[in-house]
Symmetry: C3
Subunit: 359 residues, 3 copies
Amino acid sequence: MNAGPRHLEDGRARPLSELAALVSGEVLGEPSTPIVGVSGLEQAKAGQLSFFGNQKYKKQLAASAASAVLVPRDCPPSERGVAFVRVDNPHLAFARIAQEFAPRRVFAAGVAAGAHVHSSASIAGTATVQAGATICAGAHVGARSVIGPGCYVGARARIGDDTVLIANVSVLDDCLVGERCLLHSGVVIGSDGFGFAFDPSIPAHVKIPQTGIARVEDDVEIGANSCVDRATTGETVIGRGTKIDNLVQVGHNCVVGPLSILCAQVGLAGSTELGMGVVLGGQVGVAGHLRIGDLAKVGAQAGVMSEVGDGEIVNGSPQMDAKDYMRAAAVFRRLPELNRTMRDLQRRLDALEQESKKP
Amino acid sequence: MNAGPRHLEDGRARPLSELAALVSGEVLGEPSTPIVGVSGLEQAKAGQLSFFGNQKYKKQLAASAASAVLVPRDCPPSERGVAFVRVDNPHLAFARIAQEFAPRRVFAAGVAAGAHVHSSASIAGTATVQAGATICAGAHVGARSVIGPGCYVGARARIGDDTVLIANVSVLDDCLVGERCLLHSGVVIGSDGFGFAFDPSIPAHVKIPQTGIARVEDDVEIGANSCVDRATTGETVIGRGTKIDNLVQVGHNCVVGPLSILCAQVGLAGSTELGMGVVLGGQVGVAGHLRIGDLAKVGAQAGVMSEVGDGEIVNGSPQMDAKDYMRAAAVFRRLPELNRTMRDLQRRLDALEQESKKP
Amino acid sequence: MNAGPRHLEDGRARPLSELAALVSGEVLGEPSTPIVGVSGLEQAKAGQLSFFGNQKYKKQLAASAASAVLVPRDCPPSERGVAFVRVDNPHLAFARIAQEFAPRRVFAAGVAAGAHVHSSASIAGTATVQAGATICAGAHVGARSVIGPGCYVGARARIGDDTVLIANVSVLDDCLVGERCLLHSGVVIGSDGFGFAFDPSIPAHVKIPQTGIARVEDDVEIGANSCVDRATTGETVIGRGTKIDNLVQVGHNCVVGPLSILCAQVGLAGSTELGMGVVLGGQVGVAGHLRIGDLAKVGAQAGVMSEVGDGEIVNGSPQMDAKDYMRAAAVFRRLPELNRTMRDLQRRLDALEQESKKP
């Protein structure tokens, strides 16, 4: 059970100049300003550092109580005398500095008394297996990894180094999770793919055995209660550095990423391939057996029913170019009016035609 | 392990007059009618009390085997001699009386042998911690609360009095759950918010540490496998008396409720605020950083992409006034016909123009 | 903890003729061809059997390394000399043969040391209860069934023979699961239905006690993290042979199946009835208190707001005939153009009318 303190402000004040140096920032204002933590512009208190990356938050910048703010390179100095730090990418710089202040969760290495570990499992000496976790025969848990309470690591499954399974996570038989991954509570890796063939003579949906695996590459984060099915044969793959939000479904034999972003409640049917750096908005659904190209972006709730090319930005269901979609959606709102106009035109045309038929 | 009987009809017959008094009802019929339980009009058997609150269930009322029925104040007496109880709100009165008959689940106070409780956790003497639950350092469990099997209460997390976590629930480090809450199986409170900044120089999605908490206020119910992310900094809040159905996603820094209703599979992106008494239908998606006003209602599957005012009723994706949406959707169905009509008009107009150009 | 090997190719080569006989197939080629496993056309290696059931995979057939392929009855022999097996339904035949090669997971019968079983629970002698599972008072686990790690079987719940609960599954008080069922990790059976009546005098959403049960009939499979709510009174039913994918929500008092297919992330509101052999695509939402008839099919992401008749094929939200929907969706894409054409017609008509008014 982890017991480390979890406070953004850990008491250790650091001079602004030291933090600015971490992100190659140029300080406008007092370099020795003591910073004790980070926060958003609106929530920030004195002593905290915030960031300003989008002109639409100008008001929040003007009103913020933050003692220092990360700003774009071309930002003029604060009129109120707040210390600014000019950087290339304020959001990214904020992430870096926030990591400096984030609490380190410290876990005692070793297998807790209440954990259930098979004698043939291999657990790194520096790994932590918490009470109530189950590690099956032939499974492996890497160095400094943490298997939280109620987690299940199936037979012959492998968890790489520096990976954390928070609580009640299932990594099923033979599945592979890479290094530096973070699997949130309730994640399921390697549930059976959804494959049946209908036999009318019984009648029954006959199960197609799902004998492949799911493989999660390095640096992947998967949100709470998300599911990655194992492949029918072969592998379902979540590529390196891909980040998946909560309640997402990845069907069997999908290949996702690397570096893709799947927002909450996305669903991918089977055998679909997502390229590098793809972004799927919340609740997007993607049909099976198709490809979404590198760097493509799909708007929230869209339904992808066919191929999406590299770099395309789409929306709607079935999906289309995102700008075209916004235009079509704008007309959709006015359909009743359009319909009335049409009937009016029809009447006027009828009248004109009558007119023109007159001798 | 809970072992109390769970029967709607607990054998203890109660006279109808006694039940009617609980809901300020006026009995039409025999006040001493013995009632042994409650049920819907269609499932009800003799001895049971049901309710009739909507004219569209007239047929079910006429055919019901119930011995007594809660009806609106203006309802005429039964033609079949069934006992009626006139009340202001039959549905609400039914809820009250059903609670009288509902089984009380009785839990033995104390920490079960197979539970894993850190020595620094504070567990009320009247609380129950079931086998397989894990309570971390510095956590608190309030009076009469129940932590079910496989539940995880993180470090310094606090569970208020009279709250029940059914099974395999995760309340993560530092998160707060109020009094009289009910968290169903698989709920996750305090998973990390989904926040990353892209660093093209690596390339990688750099994690923005999620160091805030999630706070669930009093009298909240959260459905199975729903997720409430912790805030980046500050708090994600589920307000007092809000009810959330299964498989719902609440993003980081959202503030929901009080007294709101989120139906199954709703998804809220980050930093969105829901007012008081908001109702979101099933599978609704809401974009981030916007506000849905008090008493607003959003139709099932709608996509809310911008502010919704107090009391507004919206539908569609992007959302619009619900009535306008129904009208637009009705025209959508006829779009092919509209399109044909348009082409027809075009041809007729071409002909007329040709005509008018003739000398 | 299960420790059986999980390899599709188990080393036991079998002659093609023997496998063909299992599916009444006609071998075109060498009947003694040794087969060591099965795979899809693209992933297959020498020694494996694959299937070809859809003309759109002709290229994959031509390029496959499989040593044998199940093909339709009318398929000509391979030009490359690959052994073909003619069958009535290649997909179904593949399922049958894949089952021959699928690993049998072998579980040691008995209750593991770390399991929590109430003294009044009845566990078949041939059943397996794994470490960290909890079986409550009066519950029953049938012959050869497996209750995986972290699973919770509530008071008086019954799990039929030959049923497997993978891990962290909750089957709550009084609920019933049939024979030969497979419940994947995180499934919740019998969470409370979502029923409240609003009392403005408090104000509060007053809970309507959910005192019914959920009943899962024989041969049902339910995907990871899916939820089936218990009935308010009476039963929520998943009918015999129905297959449910991951993250699906079934509301209280629904009656589903038999032999229906619910793809991932489907949501059913309360009291809805699905007939026999219904197919719901991914992310479909269905409103409450309505019926979807036998053999009806609903397209992915559709929203069913009213009755669907037997055998109907629908799509869209609100749903309509699927072909009509595809036509309407095609016009939707061109709405901006339609709108421009309309305005153009309007202008031309204005001009003509002006013209005709001239003396």
